[in-house]
């Protein structure tokens, strides 16, 4: 049985005037250890779907189960990495990583051990006693990943985690993430609007439509890693997905124009 099952999920945002259907008839099955990207233009509901799996905003209809259990709220079995890092600025790097373990009332020696391992794994040793304000964006996102890994949750949810980083840092962290994923065997659900990023990373790419958000294409990426973004196969897929995403982007742009015209 699949680890994450999204079953007929709908999400409606009630706004004064009219309701916005953010997600409609979403059905997905994600196997343990799979790396899945949710791809689409802004407003397609990919973050809404991720937040529903995280338990921050539950579906209006349908249900999401993890390991057969229905999701009713957020929990440390589904660690989330945010685009804005969301590190606690008043805690040092080590304290941020340890925080989730302290909440679980783990013993100090065990916490220290885990923190040290993660500092090693993400090359953060020199930064353990620094505060987030002293770190670059890439370093902060490493800490955020370490903080989620500390929970040792089987599932990692990532909401455009590398969206705010420059291209080189981004590639560097993508490689790190793949290395960690291969080593630890996590299930990763990763939201992005970058076609290239999704092809570079994912086992499977779920392309979503602009409002209402539905699954437009469920694409398996069958290329060996490390993937070469300049290869022919990579670019064929990029062109194909680009066409799909641009159709939705166009609908997004049209809708915005229509909205502007009404105003």
């Amino acid at each position: 049985m699949a680890q994450i099952i999204v079953n007929n999920v709908q999400k409606v945002f009630k706004t004064p005037g009219k309701d916005v259907i953010a997600l409609k008839d979403i059905n997905l099955e994600i196997k343990a250890g799979e790396f899945v990207c949710l791809l689409g233009p802004s407003g397609c509901g990919k973050s809404t779907l991720l937040n529903a799996v995280a338990g921050f905003a539950l579906p209006s209809a349908g249900e999401i189960t993890v390991e057969g259990k229905k999701i009713t709220g957020p929990g440390p079995d589904r660690g989330m990495v945010f685009q804005e890092y969301a590190l606690f600025p008043w805690m040092t790097v080590a304290q941020n990583i340890a925080f989730g373990l302290e909440i679980q009332k783990k013993e100090k020696a065990e916490i220290d051990l885990t923190v040290n391992q993660l500092l090693d794994l993400l090359h953060l040793n020199d930064f353990r006693d620094r505060f987030p304000k002293d770190l670059s964006g890439g370093m902060r996102q490493r800490v955020a990943i370490a903080r989620v890994l500390a929970l040792d949750s089987p599932i990692m949810l990532m909401d455009e985690p590398f969206g705010a980083l420059d291209a080189l840092t981004r590639r560097n962290l993508q490689d790190e993430l793949l290395r960690i994923w291969e080593k630890l065997g996590k299930t990763i659900l990763f939201v992005t609007h970058s076609i290239e990023e999704s092809i570079y990373l994912a086992d499977r790419i779920v392309v979503m439509t602009y409002r209402p958000g539905t699954v437009k294409r469920d694409q398996v990426v069958d290329m060996p890693r490390p993937r070469d973004p300049s290869s022919a196969a990579f670019n064929d897929l990029k062109r194909e997905l680009g066409r799909l995403v641009m159709e939705e982007q166009q609908r997004h742009a049209d809708a915005e124009l229509k909205l502007a015209a009404i105003d």
Binding site: F56, G79, M80, E84, A86, F88, P89, I103, R147
Partner: protein, 270 residues
């Protein structure tokens, strides 16, 4: 030597003013009673600082050295500020945290707070004397009121401005309500709370001087009022200068505490 240059630059106007003032006094431009010369004020300040009695037998040298009137007054005022502030802020902090976090508590207390807040602490003086008599207690009461509202308002604002992303991240890590409060909301609100503390201490310091003019017989506020009775203008000014120095000392102490507690904060150099 940029620092020295800056210092000289900043000292220019005050020094010039002192020279004019001194010269004016020497040439008899100002009445010695109404505006004594700077040197006379300095001499008085020094006398005010030094011990009044000769060292007694059995008294340690240090105890004798700090037995002067000025140090006693400064200590009394500082004690009142701290005691009153601790009472006021100690009540404001938990109430502010509650009001910031719970809209229901906020709705319950906010109307009362908005009515009480504009009443200056000085307006409580008659009641303070009726309720608490003479001595320290009415001072504590007035200072506590002066410190209460800045700390309360800033704590409420601080809790309300906590970025939702921190709450989401914490919930994702499995944080319960109490831990959320103590380890996420409270630290996230600290910059606001400390800004309130700084304003509150400032208000407390104003109120202490006023409160000492009514019900006690020591402290810097009492001393300058007493000096007026005897037309000791030099002592009034010496007392005022001491108030300024004590205020500066308190503010830099709070600012140091700020820098330490907020060493993680983006806008601060350390």
């Amino acid at each position: 030597m940029k620092n020295l240059k800056d210092f000289l630059h900043g000292a220019l106007v005050p020094v010039l003013l002192l020279i004019l003032w001194e010269a004016g006094s020497r040439f008899g431009l100002f009445s010695e009673v109404l505006l004594p010369s700077p040197t006379a004020v300095a001499a008085k300040w020094w006398a005010y600082l030094l011990p009044m009695q000769p060292q007694e037998a059995g008294q340690s040298y240090l105890a004798w050295l700090i037995s002067g009137e000025l140090l006693h007054d400064a200590y009394s005022s500082l004690f009142r500020v701290i005691a009153g502030f601790v009472i006021g802020a100690g009540l404001a902090l938990p109430l502010g945290l509650l009001m910031g976090a719970s809209p229901r508590t906020y709705d319950l207390f906010n109307p009362l707070m908005q009515i009480l807040r504009p009443i200056p602490p000085i307006a409580y003086i008659p009641l303070a004397i009726l309720w608490f008599g003479l001595g320290n207690p009415p001072s504590f009461f007035l200072i506590a009121i002066g410190a209460f509202f800045p700390v309360l308002m800033n704590t409420i604002a601080g809790v309300r401005q906590v970025d939702g992303i921190f709450l989401r991240a914490a919930r994702n890590l499995g944080v319960g309500q109490w831990t959320m409060f103590t380890r996420v909301i409270l630290p996230a609100a600290t910059p606001y709370i400390l800004a309130g503390v700084r304003i509150g201490i400032g208000t407390a310091f104003i109120v202490v001087i006023v409160s000492e003019m009514i019900a006690v017989n020591d402290g810097l506020g009492f001393r300058i009022l007493e000096a007026r009775e005897f037309m000791w203008s030099d002592k009034i000014i010496a007392g005022m200068i001491t108030i300024g120095l004590l205020g500066l000392f308190i503010d830099s102490a709070v600012s140091r505490l700020n820098n330490h507690l907020l060493r993680w904060h983006r806008g601060l150099e350390h």
